[in-house]
């Protein structure tokens, strides 16, 4: 890692000020993605602003059909939270599939959303559930938040504070891990609301999370795995590498979507 200046943020305002004041400051939450990038010298922030010291950013609340998770909620806490397990079990399940226990104990929801790794799990949940990303400046709909590969709508001094997940009637997440990295090679989150079904895919897209309108349409009419039979997605825009060709990823999107619907139907 290159040299940097480390700051403990006392509050959100403090963090925002610190971020705005330095040339190339970055917030650090769990650091599970940022620190490896810094070690590889692919990221070289002048300043790190530690959000871990700000009180109240790790709350978990369910109220009025919405589950709100603070940005500093660790994956492990989300996975084991009784509130999440009761309100949105698919999300608890997803959090339990991230990385390994050590990563889950440090990694945070806000960090994952802000990093927008194309193989991360949370973006699929956020898009499928129609989450709202609450930042230090505003509220952003999940679909507007993720703008491309490792890109989000966040401004340099803007910090993710929380995410609000509307609670669906049914939802499930199915993940096919990259055999080596264990990130999602294909992850499909399916959510059924009274008026809409959303299917969001992570891992497969060359530029990050995306929805599958044809699947959503079919599932809106008939929320069953059978409704997806014969449907497939195009390989356009899908990633291809030594672990999975675009064709294979497209195929897995179908398989994981069917399995997710079956799981959601319990």
């Amino acid at each position: 890692m290159y040299d940097f200046t480390y700051h403990k943020a006392a509050s959100l305002d403090d963090a925002a000020k610190l971020l705005a004041s330095a040339v190339d400051a970055k917030p650090i939450a769990g650091g599970q993605s940022l620190l490896p990038m810094m070690k590889f010298r692919l990221a070289s922030p002048s300043d790190l602003v530690d959000l871990g010291t700000i009180a109240g950013l790790d709350r978990i609340e369910a109220e009025g059909g919405t589950l709100t998770l603070g940005a500093m909620c660790r994956h492990g806490a989300v996975c084991t939270s009784e509130v999440v397990q009761k309100t949105l079990p698919a999300l608890a399940h997803l959090a339990g599939l991230i990385g390994d226990p050590a990563v889950r104990h440090r990694g945070t929801l806000g960090g994952s959303l802000a990093n927008n790794d194309p193989t991360a799990d949370y973006p699929a949940a956020a898009v499928s559930l129609g989450a709202t990303i609450v930042t230090s400046k505003r509220e952003i709909a999940a679909e507007d938040f993720f703008t491309g590969l490792f890109e989000t709508a966040l401004e340099p001094d803007e910090i993710v504070v929380a995410a609000r997940f509307p609670v669906p009637e049914k939802a499930a997440y199915e993940k096919f891990r990259n055999p080596a990295s264990r990130y999602a090679m294909v992850g499909v989150f399916v959510a059924k609301f009274p008026d809409v079904v959303r299917v969001a895919v992570t891992g497969a897209g060359a530029s990050g999370v995306f929805r599958v309108p044809s699947f959503e349409e079919a599932l809106s009419k008939d929320f069953s795995a059978d409704a997806l039979k014969g449907l497939s997605i195009s390989t356009d825009g899908l990633a291809g590498d030594i672990h999975a060709s675009a064709e294979y990823r497209a195929h897995l999107v179908g398989v994981m979507a069917r399995r997710a619907v079956a799981a959601a139907n319990g």
Binding site: D3, F4, P101, A102
Partner: protein, 171 residues
């Protein structure tokens, strides 16, 4: 910058550059070399330590982020009374071979059992998902952890020193 934390029950403090990871802090500033550098990017688990009761990769954490917190390393696991049951079972069954991954595996297992005293075999495997071992095939480790869990359950008195009890020996 100054970093002060509790390591194995003792308050330890050092002046370090901000880019110092918790792993480097333990190994180079405190001379606690039980946590190993296997990959230094959180993929292998050789540096696993317990932070406030949870297993974490010491290489993926700044020492500054651990400031004021409580860390248990492999050096702090045994008490004056003897080895931790996990250490004991690993020794009795030959669960390690070259020993390099052992500290990390044992601490991952301890964190699991502290939280879930009755894990299934699959839960044990999941708990070790981040710990790479090239020698053993993991077989005796998984069996050993299960054996400890079963023994602990059958002995109602807390034979296993919880994190707090492990610290008393230094207090």
């Amino acid at each position: 910058m100054n970093v002060t934390l509790t390591v194995n029950g003792e308050t330890r403090s050092a002046e370090v550059p901000p880019e110092t990871t918790l792993l480097v802090f333990l190994r180079e500033y405190l001379n606690l070399t039980g946590a190993k550098t296997g990959c230094d990017i959180g993929d292998c688990g050789a540096c696993t330590v317990i932070l406030d009761g949870k297993a974490v990769n010491a290489c993926l954490m700044l020492a500054a982020q651990a400031d004021g917190r409580d860390v248990i390393t492999i050096e702090g696991l045994a008490t004056r009374e003897g080895l931790h049951p996990l250490q004991k079972v690993f020794e009795e069954t030959g669960a390690l071979q070259c020993g390099f991954c052992g500290p990390g595996v044992i601490l991952s297992a301890k964190a699991l059992l502290d939280e879930n005293p009755a894990p299934s075999k699959q839960e044990i495997r999941n708990a070790l998902a981040g710990n790479l071992c090239r020698c053993t095939g993991y077989v005796k480790m998984i069996d050993g952890i299960q054996e400890v869990a079963e023994t602990m359950r059958s002995v109602p008195t807390p034979a296993l020193p919880a994190a707090s009890k492990g610290e008393q020996k230094h207090g």
